[in-house]
């Protein structure tokens, strides 16, 4: 983990509720797709944890959904403004388990961390299929970006207004895959857990205090003992998960 001051390079809407922000600064603490950053905002006490969509040596890309006070404040921030950001948080996805043809399943604002994951898996020579699930057509983002990487992309919408009608699991059943990686709302993760034919990795969300393992605010029980979503997570393997709720 590192603490750094980042400069907003851009902050633009992708859909009505989802924004894309580029942050310039020291990204050296980030080691794996699926990690997150924790952002301090003026006037708000707790930092806001947000998954990393992509990064290079000088900048981080985050995609965030405007859902509350913090993200509403972020939406109005301008190029050139500065943010205090903790980087390199969480374990991230383990790419070594992917096999030849991994499948990536993202739901809504769970899509972003899969972008860099897809990029790295493709760079490693894998055949990557991606299923992106949204509620409806005008909520879709990053379909073209995933296609541009060279992934086999399927989009599902719950109302059938675009792509395959239904949930990501409906499209999942149609395809072969060696392994899977997913991020999205918990009901989706549960459905994938039940439907999956292989092992895989799940990225979880939880309300966090610190985001770096100090407060025990985001603990969960797993097969291999208590874990902190912010530290030993957010990515858990299928074999490790105990569904409690």
């Amino acid at each position: 983990m590192k603490q750094g001051v980042f400069e907003i390079l851009s902050n633009t809407p992708l859909t009505e509720g989802v924004m894309r922000m580029e942050l310039g600064g020291d990204t050296s603490a980030i080691t794996a797709p699926g990690q997150f950053v924790n952002i301090k905002l003026d006037g708000l006490f707790l930092r806001r944890p947000i998954s990393v969509c992509d990064w290079d040596a000088q900048k981080i890309v985050i995609l965030y959904k405007v859902v509350g006070k913090g993200t509403e404040q972020m939406r109005h921030m301008k190029k050139g403004e500065k943010l205090d950001v903790l980087t390199g948080l969480g374990n991230g996805y383990d790419l070594t388990k992917a096999g030849d043809s991994p499948m990536l399943l993202g739901g809504g604002v769970g899509v972003p961390p899969l972008y860099r994951l897809a990029k790295d898996l493709l760079a490693a020579g894998k055949r990557v299929s991606v299923i992106l699930g949204f509620n409806t057509k005008n909520e879709i983002f990053y379909e073209d970006e995933f296609r541009a990487l060279g992934a086999d992309v399927t989009v599902t919408t719950v109302d059938g207004s675009y792509g395959v009608k239904g949930f990501v699991t409906d499209a999942m059943a149609e395809k072969d895959y060696s392994y899977f990686y997913t991020c999205g709302p918990e009901p989706m993760l549960k459905a994938i857990y039940r439907a999956a034919k292989t092992s895989g990795q799940f990225s979880f969300e939880e309300r966090m205090g610190c985001g770096f393992g100090a407060c025990m605010g985001c603990s969960c029980k797993t097969v291999t003992g208590n874990k902190r979503i912010c530290k030993e997570g957010p990515v858990l393997t299928k074999e490790d998960i105990i569904w409690e709720k």
Partner: protein, 305 residues
């Protein structure tokens, strides 16, 4: 002005400075030792330890508030056996000073047992006995809300330990002074206060409490004035040292707490927002002392006019 003196003495043990990360915000130290050399701290109070391992409460355990936060972790810890066999050896690798052992329990016997075990650990300098956790049922705070129960825990712990015993009090009481005095009379070597204030938030979308446990402990900058007032009241009423905490976020807050009567000062929620908060406070102290013409922190304890 020459070099300022930040040293204070807490229950007979000298601290390089009065800054102490509070229990539950600093783990067993090693997470923070990855970020900075934690030997710059006066000491720290490690994660509240109980006789048996505890997972704690269901999540969500955290809620945002104006200038603060609510937590309902519920004393998650690996239990005293593992703390001694695994956590303390790791702690010893990154921290060479006496550490404050924070203990909680669900019966008088629990407290005594865990304190007796930790009292034997070489690196433990003080026992901080938490009779004020608002997040567990049938224990924790229930021992800190009556003078009799707090005194009973104090006496039981004192009987089986040799190191200084500091009783950590809850603000969720009608008269904290009477409880502090009861602990002093029962043999406590120090008092620390305040633990978190019982609080609650409701999610407007779901109309449910944000915290799975409904209520939790409110901490952060917002509670500083309440904490300061209680430190002031207790410090004037007892002869034993008082450790002040509650919303401390800056070196100025440390000095204010000490003027109110605190011998040392714990920093809690601030560590969770800025992992470097305690280190910054230590770094900032000398300059702030010079600004307010303080040569030695020892001289300002209880110095409010």
């Amino acid at each position: 002005m020459g070099e300022v003196n930040t040293k204070v003495t807490l229950c007979g043990i000298e601290l390089d400075n009065p800054v102490i990360p509070a229990s539950g915000t600093f783990g067993y130290g090693y997470e923070f030792a990855e970020l900075y050399d934690i030997n710059c701290l006066g000491t720290f109070s490690f994660k509240g330890t109980t006789k048996d391992p505890r997972f704690g409460n269901p999540t969500p355990r955290i809620a945002e508030c104006t200038a603060g936060m609510i937590n309902a972790v519920g004393l998650q810890n690996p239990g005293v056996d593992k703390v001694i066999s695994e956590e303390l050896p790791r702690l010893a690798q990154c921290f060479r000073k006496p550490v404050m052992a924070n203990v909680s329990g669900f019966s008088v016997e629990d407290y005594a047992y865990t304190c007796e075990r930790l009292d034997k650990e070489k690196q433990v300098g003080w026992l901080e006995v938490n009779v004020s956790c608002p997040n567990v049922h049938g224990g924790g705070m229930s021992f800190g809300t009556s003078p009799e129960a707090a005194a009973e825990v104090t006496a039981a712990v004192k009987k089986v330990t040799t190191k200084p015993v500091i009783i950590k009090l809850s603000p969720n009481v009608t008269d904290i002074v009477s409880i502090a005095k009861a602990c002093e009379a029962a043999g406590a070597d120090g008092i620390s206060l305040i633990n978190t204030m019982l609080g609650m938030r409701i999610d407007l979308r779901t109309r449910r409490p944000v915290i799975a446990n409904t209520m939790g402990g409110f901490s952060g900058a917002a509670i500083f004035p309440v904490a300061l007032r209680m430190v002031y009241q207790v410090a004037r009423a007892v002869k034993i040292p008082v450790v002040g905490m509650g919303g401390v976020s800056t070196a100025e807050d440390v000095i204010e707490m000490m003027l109110a009567g605190a011998t040392a000062v714990e920093v809690g929620a601030a560590n969770l927002i800025d992992p470097f908060a305690s280190q910054k406070i230590v770094t900032d102290l000398p300059a702030v002392m010079e600004k307010y013409k303080i040569n030695s922190l020892n001289e300002i304890i209880g110095g409010v006019k």
